[in-house]
């Protein structure tokens, strides 16, 4: 049995759930395919996919065992461009966080390239696969309209105080809280281009749900030091790394 993450806390269990490809994540909201395409901003809804090479069937590929073993993903088969989606997760109990995202993406999706930074996480894939993956990421537990930002650029804000309504700071103000409906709406695409029509992302999750779903250890939630099991494994890794030596002579 695969061992994804140590620990006995709820946070550790949530981390295991995300990392386990057999675990079905809860679907929390409905976002249309068109909405996803609009937020990504890589092509207009309904527009053909641009390609960077002819479909694989029409190409003369060199003889190669690996090419025979690995089934290409749809986007690669069609020759799509590689595009991206980037998320920013607030430190205030966002459901996911960058390292966990990368870990779980690589377990759950094929043909993706995940890049992790302290406050943001980018994933690249062929365009049609990216759209499928993005839809899943936006509709399931990975995403909370208030605490998670879809930001291709100007990502600053993950460690700042939240607004009173729970929305994370965004200098480009892409996701705005609608006071009349109580829902968060994307009024700009991920790089800040204004959309003709806002895309409704749904109601922000309440504080209790977020605390139950989060994968972030915090002293005002579940503290890392209280998760003895996780700390013990961390110590073991630390000792093994130190004793193994970085550059033994």
């Amino acid at each position: 049995m695969a061992q994804y993450y140590p620990g006995t806390s709820q946070v550790a269990q949530n981390r295991r759930n995300f990392s386990d490809p057999d675990y079905e994540l809860e679907k929390l909201r409905e976002i249309s395919d068109e909405g996803v395409v609009k937020i990504l901003g890589h092509r207009a809804p309904g527009e053909e996919y641009k390609s960077v090479h002819p479909p694989l069937d029409e190409m003369d590929e060199p003889e190669d065992y690996i090419r025979e073993i690995v089934t290409p993903i749809d986007g690669a088969k069609a020759g799509d461009r590689v595009r991206y989606i980037q998320f920013v997760d607030s430190m205030y109990f966002a459901p996911a966080q960058p390292f966990l995202r990368s870990r779980s993406y690589l377990n759950r999706f094929r043909g993706v390239d995940a890049g992790t930074l302290s406050g943001r996480q980018i994933v690249e894939a062929r365009e049609r696969d990216l759209e499928r993956i993005s839809k899943e990421l936006l509709e399931t537990e990975y995403f909370d309209p208030a605490r998670t930002g879809i930001r291709g650029k100007s990502v600053h804000g993950h460690s700042l105080r939240l607004d009173e309504n729970g929305v994370m700071f965004d200098m480009l103000r892409r996701q705005l809280y609608n006071k009349e409906t109580g829902k968060v709406e994307a009024v700009k695409d991920q790089i800040g281009k204004v959309l003709d029509e806002p895309v409704v992302l749904g109601e922000p999750l309440d504080e209790e749900t977020l605390k139950a779903k989060t994968t972030i250890y915090r002293v005002d939630g579940e503290a890392y030091k209280d998760d003895k099991d996780a700390v013990e494994i961390l110590h073991r890794i630390h000792v093994a790394r130190s004793e193994g030596g970085f550059c033994p002579e």
């Binding site: 105080r161 607004d163 700071f169 709406e185």
Partner: protein, 148 residues
């Protein structure tokens, strides 16, 4: 003596208005400064359901809100006022807050102030109310207590 109120969330215009009105109603409060990230002027172009920037009414005076409130500095003279402020904050900030005692507003002219105002006589209360690059008239609102 100054106190700094540090709410654990950035305040909306409604809460700012409510809290400022209650704080300004206290007799012992001399000066109040609100500080935080600036609200962009384009905010007014947004549809009303998204808008944050508006004019608030504090003790009968209209004030153009230029920032989202992240901190409130209050100058007081008695320690007992802190408890009153704490009570106001407990009602208004369900998400938590901190109150720190210290000195948060300047009381002496700096070199920049001398360069900006020259030898002009400006009242002591105006010193330290804005940053050097701002115009006093843009940022300062004078509330007269007891109708004087």
């Amino acid at each position: 003596m100054d106190i700094q109120i540090f709410p654990h969330r950035i305040l909306s215009a409604d809460t700012t208005e409510l809290v400022l009105n209650k704080i300004e109603a206290l007799d012992d409060v001399h000066r109040t400064v609100i500080n935080g990230p600036r609200l962009p002027p384009e905010d007014l172009d947004l549809p009303p359901q998204y808008r944050e920037k508006r004019t608030i009414n504090v003790q009968g005076k209209e004030i153009d809100l230029k920032v989202q409130t992240g901190r409130i500095f209050v100058e007081i003279s008695q320690e007992s006022t802190i408890d009153e402020v704490k009570n106001i904050c407990q009602d208004a900030f369900p998400f938590g807050f901190e109150i720190n005692i210290g000195k948060f507003m300047r009381t002496q002219k700096t070199v920049t102030d001398h360069m900006k105002y020259g030898d002009e006589k400006i009242p002591d209360e105006y010193i330290g109310m804005t940053d050097q690059s701002a115009k006093l008239s843009d940022r300062l609102t004078i509330l007269k207590k007891d109708g004087n």
